[in-house]
Symmetry: C2
Subunit: 289 residues, 2 copies
């Protein structure tokens, strides 16, 4: 059976055709523009390819409650062109096949648990630090959903005493996403993330904020592995800084062999699927319906 | 079948004998003292009562991983007399029956979902604000467990600019528990919580900290209901203050009918089981093995 998969991100859409073994036969990446420009490009890619179902991991917030009349509709996203856009419904109408929807980060977590960096444990957290900050949790065979989906990037962490940058989040100003996602790096330091690679203080501050968030996630969720991806995490020097800060902040309180200097390199890790976690997860979503 | 149940708290142990319908026939409450004083009292209560299994909801941190060699052992608890105490193993040896262990707050969440304030939803969070601050989560039929159990009381929230109290947590000083649990109220204001009932600024500060924590829990877990219990929450005036702060902090970001002025009274609620949530949950734990 041929299946479609979309990883819908704030910067780009990754689209793929695959099969039930998780193998991808065709792939295309397009920039995220106004929905009226992006939708026709999506339809062009998927039409007449014989796909029977389509899984979509979408940037949030997006309605993933199947009993809801607005299932698959974007909500109050900082990408204002997309607020209230009924992406799921549009795809269903135009392609005439079932569309299965979860958040981009939930499908990435599921995908890493099946094929990536968390195949040996029963739970994991996948965090992306890119245009926004989001995280998805996979526990006991399911992605975590309740009232709505997680919005882990919008928690507040304590400000560093020397950092007075006001923050970019249109809803909360200086929530984690507002002070630590890619766009905040650019606004605070006047250069894009990749141009700041050699500036040690940039990554120390970034690690301070991300480690606080991870510490909260560990206290609240206790995942058996934490996977960090997204554009900003391409700065590999962040990993040792984050690990060191997390151990200091936990201060030995949570007893686990993973949360030790010796083992933390195997606990906070990069994605195993490089850039394909999202789109392979979306394929997995379609496979499992 | 006769079953035993223990709610082991930092201040008191509640013990009960019950049946598989969740009915309690006998109950006793004892203060939490040194384990060598408390254990004999527990054994006195349960011996020769014909119970076949015992469920225990324990204050944390406690090892709840059944594959662990230290299953049922207390860990780095602020109650220093109890650090590394093998409570589960002692009970098993002395009573000669299976002992099933989860955290006090996980069993309370389960109990509220089955008999209390969350019978109409599929997930809930139970938070206790007492000698410590702890929370348990119940999602999709199970309590949340991963690397270890949750330690939600130890997250850090932003300090109020006018509050400089250093905090009581032996591991993190001014984590949430360190600045908002019962003992911190007493140390900050010089009187016990119940003696501060009429002091508006005490409860405004308390609500400010607790609401920040709830907001984080909502972003991270998205529970369908939040139940707040424990000694400090006996100050009922906290509920409206917390609800108001949570709505302000979320700033409309999470779309849910519950997270509105009209409905939040049904979202953040007191326990439905008054003081029996813990011990009935422990009974449920024994029932389900
Ligand atoms: N090598 C890099 N180093 C630091 N930041 C980067 C790097 N590459 C991309 N970024 C930043 O990451 C963000 C884009 O994140 P990405 O994960 O690629 O996309 P999205 O989150 O939109 O799906 C931008 O803010 C960009 O500046
Ligand atoms: N009515 C009250 N108002 C405010 N604080 C209270 C009240 N009753 C108890 N407390 C505080 O709650 C804490 C005890 O919490 P409790 O939930 O009863 O026990 P534990 O957490 O030890 O199981 C103490 O610090 C006590 O001062
Ligand atoms: Zn925000
Ligand atoms: Zn603490």
């Amino acid at each position: 059976m041929k299946l479609g998969a979309i990883e819908a991100g704030g910067t780009k859409f990754v689209m793929a055709i695959g099969n039930e073994q998780g193998e991808i036969s065709e792939k295309m990446v397009i920039p995220t523009e106004h929905p009226e420009i992006t939708l026709p490009k999506i339809l062009d890619f998927f039409k007449n390819k014989g796909i029977e179902k389509l899984g979509l991991g979408g940037f949030g917030p997006i309605d993933i409650n199947r009993n809801s009349s607005t299932y698959g509709q974007l909500q109050k996203t900082p990408k204002t062109d997309w607020v209230d856009y009924p992406l799921g419904e549009k795809l269903k109408q135009e392609l005439g096949i079932p569309i299965i929807i979860d958040t981009d980060v939930n499908v990435a977590a599921m995908s890493e648990a099946k094929w990536g960096s968390a195949t040996d444990v029963d739970s994991c957290l996948y965090i992306t630090v890119g245009t926004g900050i989001g995280a998805g949790a996979y526990f006991q065979g399911k992605t975590l959903k309740g009232l709505s989906h997680s919005e882990m990037g919008h928690i507040k962490v304590r400000r560093h005493p020397e950092d007075t940058y006001e923050g970019t989040c249109p809803y909360h100003k200086d929530c984690l996403e507002g002070i630590a996602a890619g766009p905040s790096l650019e606004k605070r330091w006047g250069k894009k993330g990749h141009e700041l690679a050699d500036d040690q203080k940039v990554w120390e501050l970034e690690a301070y904020y991300l480690a606080q968030a991870l510490t909260n996630y560990i206290y609240i969720l206790s995942p058996e592995r934490i996977i960090m991806g997204g554009g900003v995490m391409k700065q590999q020097q962040l990993f040792p800084l984050i690990r060191k800060n997390v151990l200091e902040m936990l201060n030995g309180y949570v007893s686990s062999p993973y949360l030790t200097e010796k083992e933390i390199d195997r606990y906070i890790v990069p994605p195993g699927l490089t850039d394909e976690a999202g789109v392979k997860g979306a394929l997995y979503l379609a496979m499992n319906e």
